[in-house]
Subunit: 424 residues, 2 copies
């Protein structure tokens, strides 16, 4: 990749020296990285076998190398040869709870609280309707559903639908304002743990405690935090949570989402989607619905087995991973990336909209950039893959299991080159 | 496989002669079968490579031989190498409508009416809530949801949930009684096209016409008819329909379900699950929900891509298949199987609960048998795979694309042997 060409020789020399220092620093950081070995578990090349700097794992996680063989076995042997027998012999029936128990340690939950299946949107409906129902049962005057104002759109749409279906009212409140807004009329709050656009980390313990203080239920959307930082669902007493598995959990495109219900609330979980897989005796084929106990109560219909078992295999890369180490690396990566951007990109050309404060930062950096769409297209063409969010945001996701410090340095350097060429 | 041993020599000789005649007849029927060639498209052996008589395709369809290579490519190249680029470059984004258009001719729909995704249960909720909303919009006095009394349980549970969420009331009515029960208070009717247990085919044209005459909307569950017989959704003016794809459509375990909305109703389709994939401008990330036009409006969140594309590949076996020929073969198979059962099984030992009349028969035969659970276990052990539905039903599904008349004869013969041994 070329250096910028419009600088004076002195500038170029200073630039080269700064670049050399950052590359050396990246190499040292990578050498000292306790998670560096996990990178080998993933496919990170493109279709021509060339290295890609993949900073879009917050949209679609990379392929764990062990997944193709597992999927092939599921298709060819379990489906192809055993067919219907696999529901029992290959453990298909119990896969949603088994996968839930693999997700559990990543988000700080004990076994038996999480079930995998359906999409995030569908799980938002289950969780929000169930939360409103519990609040109403406590006190019929609880009619408000508070939703963080910068929510990922689908959560807002589904929240509005849940409110319409239950006679509740949605109020959009900035996440930091929720503790001051919860009150005796609040049924539930729905908050994105990390903002999909800015990467801002919302205060899960604080908001949860404030909601509980007011007698309301919490529903957390973990799509942009699970696998990137410790969540502590059990520890912080979160009531319900949902998340996808195709971002930091690397489950594959459209992999099943999941639903967490706090242990003490499981017997009260009253789903708007009471399908036969959540029945206490599914094969009794009774016309009376009797919900199963535990996490199974969150199931609906027949789960997507191919995707479910691909996800199960993908989750094996988390075995033995310490989420505190993941968080430490994530923050180090985003800090380092911001320093590299500061060095390679002229001041004012891009502006980070991700909080600088560690306590408020997820695992991505979002840079506001006037020509973000064209800049991202050019970055992708040069093997640096982030994504573009309208109207003007460059989004770079840092996935601690496979992003290296060298990736971060190279991405910033190429960004600097692209911007220099565009501005020349 | 042994013959029954308790017969006299004369009986055994008569039995052997009847058996020879039936086997010869099966061979002739197979030789004359225009669909016989499709059988080669499926894997029908067990894990040891041995022939299986697979009569459970009405529960989980067999694996089409071309699916494993397609799935491997999706996993290894589209996900593994292209990653996020595949949403556009590999056509992931448009797969739900593309797959819907492949299902369309099988159920008698024009392109643009069907979208694939989510489970059948989730699609029942979408369809029933939308139907009730349309009826209410026509006339707020329409408060009743009629559900066929022998419905597959999940449809009943979800119907009850839909009614609870919309303030409607469920009435369970035998399917044949629905035309006489619809009236000015009826909002919608939810009917299983083919009864999952008995295999009874319900009168889709007649019930739909009666509902329309009364001003009500129809929701048909096609799980046990799609791919087994012509459905004629457009022709009969069905309003909404749902179905799974893992039975006669061979999409794989838990493959995405689908939703049909009649063309004229698409602009009125008001989903309880308005996820971002059904937004008119999904990447606009607007906080205001504006539904997309057409089939896309039935989408919710990110679809399960691995399962979706396995299904897309599996549907290729339908290319050029005439549904009238499928129906003719299905009826011939079930007729022949019943004759073979009549020949091999002592009178009264089992009783068919599937209607003898062709117009009322789907593509399975359900035999009431006191010791059905143990009998089916023994059949499976001998390579004849049907299934058992509590308390006393042996279910045999006939999938015209890969079931042969020889399969039907052998299944009945082995059933006769098993019963003879048990009764010896």
């Amino acid at each position: 990749m070329s250096d910028a060409t419009e600088n004076t020789p002195e500038d170029a020399s200073a630039d080269a020296s700064a670049s050399t220092a950052l590359r050396e620093e990246a190499a040292k950081l990578d050498a000292a990285d306790g998670l560096a070995g996990r990178r080998e578990a993933f496919v990170l090349e493109d279709e021509k076998g060339e290295r890609v700097v993949y900073l879009d794992g917050n949209s679609l996680g990379a392929l764990p190398r062990s997944v193709p063989a597992r999927v092939a076995d599921v298709v060819e042997r379990e489906w192809g040869r055993l067919r219907i027998r696999s529901w029992t012999e290959s453990g298909w029936w119990t896969a949603p709870e088994r996968v839930g128990d693999l997700i559990a340690p990543i988000v700080g939950a004990a076994p038996g609280r999480i079930v995998a299946g359906d999409s995030t949107s569908v799980n938002v409906l289950k969780a929000v309707v169930a939360a409103i129902r519990m609040a109403r049962e406590d006190n019929p005057a609880r009619t408000d559903l508070l939703v963080d104002a910068t929510t990922f759109p689908t959560d807002g749409y589904i929240a509005a639908s849940a409110a319409r279906l239950t006679g509740a009212a949605v109020r959009a409140i900035p996440a930091e304002g929720i503790p001051g807004s919860v009150g005796p009329r609040t049924a539930a709050v729905l908050v994105n743990h990390v903002d999909y656009r800015t990467g801002e980390l919302h205060d899960l313990p604080g908001i949860t405690a404030a909601a509980h203080e007011a007698g309301a239920y919490t529903v957390w959307d973990l799509c942009h935090s699970a696998g990137a930082l410790p969540v502590g669902l059990d520890e912080h007493g979160v009531d319900l949570a949902v998340g996808c598995t195709y971002k930091y959990l690397n489950g594959g495109p459209g992999a099943p989402a999941y639903l967490y219900v706090r242990r003490g609330l499981q017997p009260r979980f009253d789903s708007p989607l009471p399908g036969w897989h959540s029945h206490a005796d599914p094969f009794g084929m009774s016309h009376e619905y009797e919900p199963a106990d535990g996490a199974q109560r969150g199931r609906v219909g027949t789960p997507d087995i191919l995707s479910m078992l691909a996800l199960e295999e993908a989750l094996k890369v988390w075995d033995g991973v310490d989420m505190a180490a993941v968080r430490a690396k994530s923050l180090a990566l985003t800090d380092f990336f911001l320093r590299c951007v500061g060095s390679y990109v002229p001041a004012g050309r891009v502006e980070s909209v991700t909080p600088a404060e560690h306590a408020r930062r997820g695992s991505q950096i979002a840079l506001r950039c006037a020509d973000a769409g064209e800049v991202m297209a050019e970055l992708v063409a040069r093997g640096v893959v982030g994504d573009f969010r309208r109207p003007d945001v460059l989004r770079f996701g840092f996935t601690p299991l496979y992003t290296s410090f060298a990736d971060a340095e190279l991405a910033a350097r190429v960004l600097g080159e692209v911007l220099a060429e565009r501005d020349a």
